[in-house]
Symmetry: C2
Subunit: 140 residues, 2 copies
Amino acid sequence: MTQQTHSHDHGRAPVDLTKNQSLVFGALSRAEGPLSAYTILDQLRDDGFRAPLQVYRALDKLVETGMVHRLESLNAFVACSHPGCDSHETIAFAICETCGKVAEISDEPLEARIRELTGKDGFTVKRAVVELRGLCAACS
Amino acid sequence: MTQQTHSHDHGRAPVDLTKNQSLVFGALSRAEGPLSAYTILDQLRDDGFRAPLQVYRALDKLVETGMVHRLESLNAFVACSHPGCDSHETIAFAICETCGKVAEISDEPLEARIRELTGKDGFTVKRAVVELRGLCAACS
DNA sequence: ACAACATTGTAACTATATAACATTCTGGAG
DNA sequence: CTCCAGAATGTTATATAGTTACAATGTTGT
């Protein structure tokens, strides 16, 4: 197979992905929950992946474009759950500590409150990390 | 020196600390900003620290009692900035990406909004990780 | 064909965190 | 006091997460 960019056809394709980016995004899309970079690496051994860097490079790009989110409190990654990975600014994640599933949360009041907090003491927010750890409805 | 618990006299002492916990808390109190576990280890070599576990064990306890907070997005730790480390539930951290300093934020409306979000889809929040990355007033 | 650039491959390394087990200290029961 | 139990500590090895440096290959435009 020659090297080229691939449109990833998971039903929607806002960006063209390279081969490795496609493979990594595929692994994350198949997964029920978040995966660590090394878990992804293991899943892609058969596709020729040998070193962590191959995964991290792909993840960097995918996170940059918003197709994948990084969960700081887990050191893990999830495919964005929004159709088309387009708009939808996600502000928060709800992470179930029992089943491991992650829900994305978009909440205008929450965003607004964070913006307000920001101005208060002159702090400028560039990125908000909001991760709610707990139990999902199914696991309660 | 015989082994015993020490009250840590940083002006206020809500809990009795063991020797190692005291040393680790001291290192974090002295620091301007958050420290990684391995940075703490290096600073405590002269006090007899040799292995990461000595630091992590102390940190576990200090985090549990609320005297130290863990910053998930940095893999680092800060001494709680509240006098006496007693009440004051901290809900969020403002982390300056230039000078590295961290401010603790207690905000009732923010907490309230997170509680509301929770009930919405049956998710039960056990712990909220809120870390705002950006620029502090001094660095803007 | 060839130059310029993007993508990928590979090895070694640094950073973060835990597991398993041995030792020492402290405080209480006999 | 002695001995025992539990807490705290020490030590070695290992697991997990992420980066640096450099080589090789593919792709595109001229």
